[in-house]
Symmetry: C2
Subunit: 489 residues, 2 copies
């Protein structure tokens, strides 16, 4: 292979690798604090070029994401382009639709938003600060962790450049090039679990005069046990649908190789959706089949020089609707860590690291006293247990969505849970509620969820309607089991 | 980056990637069965070029490795170039050496052998079958898992070629390029844990007239709590030493940056070894610092087309002396799986797969009925639980070697264990013995080890010499706790 020409062409303060949702919001946050940020993004500028679509699951923005947007003053602008979804609308193969409210009442809902629209807004807001520069079609190939130098490929020009930066932050997603180089460091732990399910983006077009052909304010689910279809509303009246299906097996992507088999499959499994999807076969074969991975790794930083954040540090599967919300919450937590290490919440003392070239095996060095080291260490310590928790919750929630939501016992427990939320407001909080409608730590939500599972299991034994539950017992269980946990953390 | 020229230049039956110890022995085994094997090795031919040394931990060949060598008739030839090590020789900072026998008696020992010598022997034996062709300086860059095509870089010529093979087996070690491409497959799970310790090869030269300056038939250990030095004998009278030391911290590689600090460190910590190491400072700075990783992944095969084996599938740290033995046992198990799927133990029916090019996300296909699919599936099922077990045992044994071997309670338990082996031969078997001197599954050794830990702990409570143990209680504990496990599997 011919060796590319390498030139060390500039030095930058903070380099972000990846200008997706998390990268753009982080650039905005740092720029607002007066840091100079350069963002290197593999794709062309999505505001001026058409990005190949067809790989997107619509996003469900909720409390944690909104909080981070609020910090940079964007909550209002973003919610303007979002559609509230107040619950799940369950579509059985035959029979009536069933609605399961997400929150304890109408004030709690999640928000359907287009990934592209949100990303464009964040890019423009970041750029408008004048402290964030975006460089498009710059693909990160790797990072020299000791020189803190980033190797970038301009995919248009077939040109490779290397640039040094004081700080390099990888917001380059689940297949992060930065993580790939960190993997060889002493003490680094990396695990990647590919799900054996794929996903496919499909669409339900708008009805006449841009109306929604099915309930607008819901996340629609067609649960089928081993697979499912979901649909989230768009502003123009259409719905973005996603089919989650095993790659292999009796009902799987490998079995859907012809137009006929696709049409048969949808007609049989999702008859009401099929009736609304005129382009199903075209969409199915035009759009790629996506894969899903859970990444757990650590530590996320090399001294105060480089850091992983968002999916690059902790990719999760999409079934709790928390991927973006978790990545945005990373930014909230990182900002708290910065504030904790700066008297005024202002700019941090940055010490220029002497560049060094080390021979032999990769090592991490503790030299230098850059304040960023403490910020990044704190961030990792605060965040790791929570990103691990949401990763596990997201995998668990897949079973719930595709299988349990149609199960009578599950429906009874959900109804009892709703009753408990009404009877004991503030005292009984569901796992879903803690994850979605609060900023409490994900790890707390996971622990609380184990307790509420026990409580629901005990209360639902021997009854068949929510009205039959023993409220005295419920109160005792909540106060002895759940309240101490919620109070202590 | 300029695009390399790709040419699909040949088709091969079985391609092995990596001609190290495991790759060479596997090539020999398959060639003996009449398969045509091509082996692609990154390094030059070590029989004619000097390979850069200084990264090797000497090998401790034991029962599992010997069994695999015996199958190809090489046990005798290999043991001729090995040196029996009957136990650990413990070197304290001050005071007398202590010898801990490995086996129940003199018939049980492990064998020190040079990696290079063994590798050369296996290469030549494989070549002499005329069914195994070795191609050197061919670095695997990656594998197209759907075309079953291997991308190779000739590092001398800066030339890239792609070749298709019916079967591709990755024996390319812990940083396997084949595993790296399998990682993106649906359902693939990959975890890599870097140890925060490095290692450095050092040497004790031969004494006068090629004599051994310390006990020849022992594995020498200088245990120092958080770090250790070991030494294994070579045929020429020298010892290959390895220092295991944290990368960072109070006593660590990062603290040893000058000749003076290295000399001071060895003089203080390993005075008797230091006296025998005249070139310590030169060796220390000339030899690279190696890193160690535990890899667990799965599944190891893509249908009947590609397979990971040895370190590529399950790299382990070196502290149980089982890396090579485990890799060699893989070959024994693979051969059993082949035999189970062939009536005569002869050659397997190979169905030429139609090459296909698939768009979209990576998928695995079940088409075709190649018998190799069943062989590889069986192999993975049989082996995975055992490679996971030895991976964990190897990490645990590090604590034992560097820390516990100097601890009085540990020494008492070891003495009691020896007594139990003598009193109850065949009934009491130690974890170390099961791993090192039997072919019982590693997972069984791990389970049995938990039981023997309990037994030793109970028997050693309140006593101070091995003679004081309650033999009746010992017999009861062994027969009720250990024997059922050893009998059932």
């Amino acid at each position: 292979m011919t060796e590319p020409i390498i030139s060390l062409n500039r030095e930058t303060e903070i380099a972000l690798v990846g200008g997706g949702l998390v990268g753009s919001l982080l650039a905005l946050s740092l720029a607002r604090r007066g840091f100079d940020v350069d963002v290197y993004e593999r794709r062309p500028d999505m505001r001026t070029s058409k990005i190949s679509a067809g790989r997107s699951i619509n996003l469900a923005l909720s409390t944690r994401g909104i909080k981070a947007l609020n910090t940079v003053g964007l909550e209002g602008k973003v919610l303007e382009i979002a559609i509230p979804m107040r619950g799940r609308m369950i579509h059985p193969v035959k029979g009536d639709l069933a609605f399961q409210q997400y929150g304890k009442d109408d004030t709690e809902y999640i928000n359907s938003i287009s990934r592209g629209d949100l990303n464009k807004l964040l890019l423009s807001e970041a750029e408008s600060t004048k402290h964030a520069n975006f460089h498009f079609q710059q693909k990160a190939i790797g990072i020299d962790l000791f020189r803190n130098a980033l190797e970038l490929e301009n995919e248009n020009k077939n040109e490779i450049t290397t640039l040094a930066a004081q700080i390099i932050i990888g917001t380059d997603g689940s297949a992060s090039a930065i993580r790939n180089d960190m993997k060889t460091l002493p003490g680094f732990s990396n695990s990647e679990e590919q799900l054996d399910y794929g996903y496919k983006e499909l669409a339900i077009p708008a009805g006449k005069k841009n109306t929604w052909q099915i309930e607008k304010h819901a996340l629609h689910i067609w649960p089928r046990g081993t697979f499912m279809l979901i649909a989230l509303p768009n502003l123009d009246g259409s719905f973005t649908c996603t089919l989650f299906l095993p790659f292999e097996g009796e009902k799987s992507f490998e079995k859907l190789q012809t137009r006929e088999s696709v049409v048969d499959f949808f007609k049989t499994e999702f008859p009401d959706a099929f009736a609304l999807m005129p382009d199903i076969a075209e969409d199915f074969f035009e759009n790629p089949t996506g894969s899903m991975v859970t990444v757990k790794c650590g530590p996320w930083n090399v001294e105060g020089r480089s850091l992983l954040l968002g999916d690059a540090a902790h990719a999760i599967v999409p079934f709790f609707g928390q991927g973006m919300n978790c990545g945005f919450e990373d930014i909230t937590v990182l900002e708290q860590c910065i504030d904790n290490h700066t008297a005024s919440g202002g700019s941090l003392y940055l010490e220029r690291r002497q560049k060094r070239d080390h021979e032999g095996a990769p090592r991490r060095f503790k030299e230098g006293s850059s304040g960023w080291r403490w910020v990044f260490d704190d961030f990792y310590r605060a965040r790791k247990v929570n990103s691990d928790a949401i990763a596990d919750l997201a995998v668990e929630n897949f079973t719930e969505m595709r299988d349990k939501v149609g199960n009578p016992r599950f429906l009874l427990e959900k109804a009892v849970e709703k009753k408990l939320q009404n009877e004991f407001p503030g005292e009984y909080v569901s796992r879903y509620g803690l994850v979605t409608f609060t900023n409490r730590p994900y790890s707390l939500a996971m622990e609380a969820g184990h307790i509420t599972d026990e409580i629901l299991s005990e209360l639902c034994t021997g009854i068949s309607t929510p009205e039959e539950i023993d409220l005295k017992l419920a109160k005792k269980l909540i106060q002895t089991k759940l309240s101490p946990l919620l109070a202590t953390k």
